[in-house]
């Protein structure tokens, strides 16, 4: 009898129930989309932010000390170098998959048209097969996506070519395609780059070319690393100061989370005499943007839930007032308050469930549209969103029903049956 009443009410009140379902669909789809984007956006936002360059720099520990104490860096600060053969080991650390790109740098100097100029040797592009069988494609080109180039980028084996910074090129009237002489050897200018910073007065070469000039075979001064990281929290900040201060459990949590400090720690484990430091400005910007994006998604989810609860509340209350005579009659026939409340709640829950399922799939669609539009890729669907949405839906429906429940419990059969 109970289910007969529920189903017949749902059919009879289909207009109102469809309105409730529509409200739930809107709320749930928005929540589903926002939460899926929120959970899947971390890596995507980070990847977007990678266009701003490396977020970790590795130096020899002595060079790092000079840098920390006196702010000195670059060629001539000291004669301590990292080993080039260690660079590829970066991909072997626990968070190796989060190391997106990296490039070793060796600074040097040479004479150009009678003037001393700074050289930077690097891997413009690097293609290698790791011991794990994984193919690697990295290099400075991936770390300097904002450079404006006239001409072409250096390729992996362009040991007889250079790229020249815009400022230096202008002051020496050098163009792409020209030939220049550096310390007595001729090089083709393959491209002129505009960095907008200090690099505009430098000459970029392949790492072997600078190693030849400087006679520093197998050495590099620094390694620039671009890694996907998780925004810092208290644990990460504590670990950044001294990982030894962590308890074993804290250490395990920290080590197994992609905090920038954990990744730096792991880099130091594979780069001999290396000290890895986060480029704070970039790392913190990433964290801030990610946190703000997450906050925005959470706020949208909360607001859409509140909006749904209010709309559901109005619709249910209107429906109950419309049916007050029928519900009053049930009370007169001997129904307890809880039985009437159960009847109404069940009708709303069934409608909510119907709307929730449709809303969930619609939300997944919205998430993919957002993923494609904003990040150019699909958002991975997080299963935990189903549980979160179900809990939100339950509370939104129950909270939205509170005014109607209060009205129902206060409803006196005499008032609706006799009009008194």
């Amino acid at each position: 009898m109970f289910w007969r009443m529920v189903t017949k009410t749902l059919i009879r009140q289909r207009g109102k129930m469809l309105m409730i379902a529509f409200t739930v669909i809107l709320g749930v789809s928005l929540s589903t989309a926002m939460m899926n984007v929120m959970l899947g956006v971390g890596d995507k936002v980070n990847r977007e932010l990678k266009v701003y360059g490396a977020n970790i720099t590795v130096r020899h520990k002595d060079a790092a000390l000079m840098n920390d104490l006196y702010g000195l860096s670059g060629q001539g600060v000291n004669d301590k170098f990292l080993q080039e053969e260690d660079v590829l080991k970066l991909k072997s650390i626990f968070w190796g998959f989060n190391i997106l790109d990296f490039a070793p740098m060796l600074e040097g100097h040479a004479e150009l048209q009678g003037e001393d100029v700074q050289l930077v040797g690097t891997w413009p592009e690097k293609h290698a097969v790791l011991s794990t069988g994984e193919e690697l494609h990295t290099g400075l080109k991936a770390l300097r996506t904002w450079w404006e180039i006239s001409g072409e980028w250096l390729s992996e084996d362009d040991n007889d070519a250079v790229m020249i910074g815009r400022e230096l090129a202008d002051s020496h009237n050098i163009h792409a395609g020209d030939t220049i002489t550096l310390s007595g050897k001729s090089y083709t200018v393959k491209g002129v780059f505009n960095d907008g910073g200090n690099d505009d007065s430098k000459i970029l070469m392949t790492l072997p070319a600078v190693q030849d000039i400087m006679n520093l075979h197998g050495r590099v001064s620094t390694i620039e690393v671009s890694a996907l990281t998780t925004p810092d929290n208290d644990l990460a900040r504590k670990a950044a100061q001294d990982p030894r201060s962590l308890s074993p459990d804290e250490y395990e949590t920290w080590y197994c989370t992609a905090y920038v400090s954990a990744i730096c720690h792991q880099i130091q484990e594979v780069i001999r005499d290396g000290v890895a430091k986060p480029v704070r400005q970039v790392a913190e910007s990433e964290g801030t943007i990610l946190n703000k994006t997450t906050l925005l998604m959470v706020l949208i989810t909360i607001l859409s839930s509140i909006g749904s609860a209010l709309a559901i509340s109005n619709l249910i209350t209107a429906s109950v007032i419309e049916r007050s005579q029928e519900l009053g009659l049930l009370k007169a026939l001997g129904a307890y308050n809880w039985q009437i409340v159960l009847l109404v709640l069940l009708e709303v829950m069934i409608t909510g469930l119907f709307g929730g399922i449709l809303g969930y799939f619609l939300g997944i669609g919205f998430a993919q549209i957002i993923g494609q539009t904003v990040f150019g890729s699909y958002i991975e669907i997080a299963r935990m969103v189903i549980l979160i949405v179900a809990v939100i839906l339950f509370f939104v429906t129950v909270l939205g029903s509170i005014p109607a429940i209060r009205y129902l419990t206060a409803l006196k059969p005499t008032e609706v049956l006799h009009g008194k």
Partner: protein, 236 residues
């Protein structure tokens, strides 16, 4: 042995005294009609007897239990177990068939039993209309469904609030005839009515005015005759 006793019952709404010191005793199997002009307190009285309201003062003893001090939940249980309600507006659930309307009362009392509900409808002459929705039934038929619903749980008192108020003379006669049969079966009937003819067919009639009982008439002497006359009118 009285099944219902009202002792000094008053009901006060703000400054309005809807009932004032009512004393009334109804024996099991009695047929009582309550009459009076609008605002005399008839509906208030039936609400209190029907456990849908409580008196401001005084006591109401129903089947040996003082219901005036009971809470809403207990009143619901007592109403469900002891009272059958008939309304002037029938109050059938529009989306349920006649038999389903009867089964709703069963559901909230104990267990729905379709066969039993069909029997109750047959008892009021609606066996062939059991699967019809209220909108497909005439006023008289709807009222008979309402009576079947009131009777389905074998209540100790059948309470009617203007049960013939919305019916034509023919259907009025049919309903009165049903009451007669129920009375013969020993059901206690209390009817509020404006209609003197319906009031006259009861065994006993009380007249209310301004919340007081101004007359209590024993109609036992004319009871059978009035009924026959009413039945004859309806058949004519």
């Amino acid at each position: 042995m009285p099944i219902l006793e009202l002792n000094n019952v008053s009901k006060i709404y703000g400054n309005l005294k809807a009932l004032a010191d009512i004393n009334l005793s109804v024996n099991a199997g009695d047929w009582l009609s309550i009459m009076g002009p609008s605002g005399s307190g008839k509906t208030t009285m039936i609400n209190i007897i029907g456990c849908m309201d409580t008196p401001s003062t005084g006591s109401v003893i129903l089947d040996g239990v003082d219901i005036s001090k009971e809470n809403a939940s207990s009143l619901t249980r007592i109403r469900r177990d002891k009272i059958g309600l008939i309304f002037q507006q029938f109050h059938l659930i529009s989306y349920l068939t006649a038999v389903e309307n009867v089964m709703v009362a069963q559901y909230y009392h104990s267990m729905p039993d379709e066969e039993e509900a069909l029997e109750a409808l047959a008892k009021v002459g609606l066996a062939d209309r059991a699967r019809h929705l209220p909108a497909q039934l005439s006023g008289g038929e709807q009222q008979r469904v309402c009576i079947a619903r009131a009777l389905i749980n074998s209540p100790q008192i059948l309470l009617g609030d203007e049960p013939t108020g919305n019916l034509d003379e023919e259907n009025e006669g049919i309903v009165v005839d049903i009451f007669r049969r129920l009375h013969d079966e020993g059901v206690t009937i209390i009817i509020v009515t404006h209609d003197p003819e319906v009031g006259d067919v009861a065994q006993r009639k009380i007249i209310l005015e301004h919340g007081r009982v101004i007359d209590d008439i024993d109609q036992s002497a004319t009871f059978g005759e009035a009924l026959k006359l009413k039945s004859k009118e309806s058949r004519a």
